[in-house]
Symmetry: D2
Subunit: 254 residues, 4 copies
């Protein structure tokens, strides 16, 4: 059986007159779109547009909820009470759901600070899982591979997609090397392709220390915010498919 | 067959630490709750709370979407493009829908300036109808009785609930007497009850000029923002039921 | 004595991670910057940045207040009570003023819908004038040449700069030809330069009907939102100076 | 020479149609008002109203800036970059300043989470001090007595008012006992008066452990959010004045 992988990318992060990202290009090379829901980016007009854009390309649609921080693009940690975070996520999932004309959302991937905090804050992690289960228990929750959140979600009965970053260096414990450190982001397309292939076909990757560590990923996080990022997405899809990997929406194989 | 009428009231218009309205009291005397969706009032925490409050009392839940104007409580006309207003309404319906744990919303009633503008702006009226049809064509749209909006909605195939105001004086053409004119708001409970009874059982009301005019209403708009308003709601329900009128959620008889 | 004219341009309309406009380029060719104050665009970080950018180039700084409509970029008419609009303007002027390190703002130019509405709504026009007078009566208010607002402001004792658009066709009564009509916007640089020269040196312009009409302008509105607009600004400045016109901040000659 | 103390209270925390606090009452018993600037509460209309209310009573006016968190009333920690926090504070000070008709603001007291974080985060503390110095170095900054922030501010040349809470229990090191612990808030008016008197006249207070510790306060934080809080403010002023303490705006004696 062929190895399978999903490519997810944040989309719909424009706002009003402000245009952000190369959605029209990157959408051709991904399988799942994380659509901003108006709290860190996006607005109802862009949400409709982005859902249509994804559907036209056969890309599965998911919600990309955030803390309420438009000015900071949802990238700043906020000490939101978990029960309030749960309701924030429910609100945003519902708002996006309404633009699908009766279809179901495939997945939910929290954005920025909410995603990063949940990876290591069990209360927040649980709250987000509860939100997903309450709105629609068939939705998949995208969580960072190798974090306690994975187990929390699985124990609660949430369908989980483990996410890895093809262009980010890893510590020996599987966590991401901090962006503030040299070598944390890998810019060479060939290396990113090679790492992705190894992750997807062998379930492992080379850590920044040189040793090989296990990495089980269901979905790779790609970017669409620069022309270079779009090219990398295109190359990655082409190379993985050439190697016999099936690149498909996570909902088709999880 | 007994005459039937719905009592609707705006609810969930608190926001964060700000408390507004006597929801806990008025909910006992109404049959349909218009729940604020965060754009003129309300937030995810209050939305969950208000949906639960309504459901505990057997009150049907509907969305109360607004223009994006938290500072002005959605009461200020905004020249929003109809296609954008449509997406604003869809967003807010979806956000509230997500708090019903899989149940359907009974209805949608636009708030404040959006409601008033739509009553006489066919493009906006159509846009709101399209929003309802797109999200769920079984939802009822509450529109002001006697306005062109009623016909617009009916022609488009929207389930319509015609709304009347028991405590507002009417012009001979059935429109509301402007709040800026003397006698526009009726404060005497007895008179409000008498007018309501006549509307519900005879389908007519006395206009401010004295002549009787036809008024066909499916739902009466009640208020919960003052203790006096809550008392009037209680009196109205008691008196109408005593007169043999069935006070029930609009969805049960439309 | 040489004819004098000011060139003003909206600036600082980026927001958080969203970048808008070619401020760094257009700032070289203008004399007055209208800096967004966070209500339709801009935020405190961009306000600081934009004030510094203007000051480095010797460009005078003014406030560009708006209705509270970030989602609509302040372009949508809002039925804001004039006394509230006054306070909105005061708030935004003060917020920008605080970034000048003790210097005074040269001017105020309301943005988008607020500017357009005030041109023909005397109550709103007066409210904005009152705001300027209350915060600092030495500030200049930029108003559309040929509108009732000019007289309103002058009668109230406000320092007024009359604004004209070098790239917009005019009706015979001096008002702008609606953007929805063909020929409303002039894209040919040569023609824009010629029109500007005629306005500045002769105080008149050719209306869309062909007849010449009087146009008294203190400041021309330029744009920085496209590379073409920046080039036009550069050409305009070069040609006007070559023709002996002094291009200088409005505060130096009004 | 008589002992002197200032009484400060948060005011102007209403928003649009939402009314919060008993400003009209508490203003009679305090000497400095911390006026909300629209980011956690307040809006331009309430800012004007509150400045007028304070001035009528001879109460000095100061800014009460916050993180951008209207939904959370500014009470949630946010990982805002210090340089951005600086600009947020400058923006809000300026916005309020514009409503004083040319008068200077007496002081700045950050709100909620921003205040609490700054008490123990030197980078944030410095950023807020820089904001005050940049806008107007004669303004007083209110900081929590006994925290590192006091020294940071004093070293930077900021005029500092050390704040104490008459109704909060203290740890032996002078920090506030966490609200989550029993006995953290003192509700008995007599005890609050006695503690205040001891702080003001002897410069010390009894910690929750029983031992006496030094407490040097320039201003006491009072509350106006409940009728009981207003009564306590009234009692406190009456008793301190009866004991010969001069209760006056901090700007008159610092």
């Amino acid at each position: 059986m062929a190895a399978k992988i999903d490519f997810n990318c944040d989309m719909g992060e424009s706002f009003g007159t402000y245009k952000l990202g190369f959605d029209e290009e990157v959408v051709k090379h991904i399988t799942s779109a994380n659509v901003a829901c108006g709290w860190h980016a996006g607005d109802p007009i862009w949400m409709r547009h982005t859902v249509q854009l994804a559907e036209k390309q056969g890309v599965a649609v998911g919600a990309h909820p955030s803390f309420p921080d438009l000015m900071g693009f949802g990238r700043r940690n906020m000490a939101v009470d978990p029960s309030e975070a749960k309701d924030y996520v429910i609100y945003q999932i519902g708002a996006l759901q309404a633009f699908t004309k009766g279809k179901k959302l495939q997945h939910v991937k929290p954005h920025g600070a909410m995603y990063n905090m949940a990876a290591n804050d069990e209360k927040l992690a649980r709250a987000i899982c509860e939100a997903v289960l309450e709105v629609d228990p068939t939705m998949i929750l995208v969580v960072l591979a190798g974090t306690p959140w994975v187990e929390v979600a699985q124990k609660m009965g949430v369908r989980v997609a483990k996410e890895a970053f093809a262009d980010r260096a890893l510590n020996p414990d599987g966590t991401l090397v901090s962006r503030s450190k040299p070598g944390s982001v890998i810019h060479d397309t060939k290396e990113v392709v090679a790492r992705s292939l190894q992750m997807v076909t062998q379930g492992k990757a080379k850590a920044i220390t040189g040793q090989e560590i296990p990495v089980r990923a269901d979905t790779l996080c790609l970017h669409g915010d620069t022309p270079g990022a779009v090219e990398m997405a295109a190359a990655l899809k082409k190379e993985l498919e050439a190697a016999g990997v099936k690149v498909a929406p996570m909902g088709t194989f999880l």
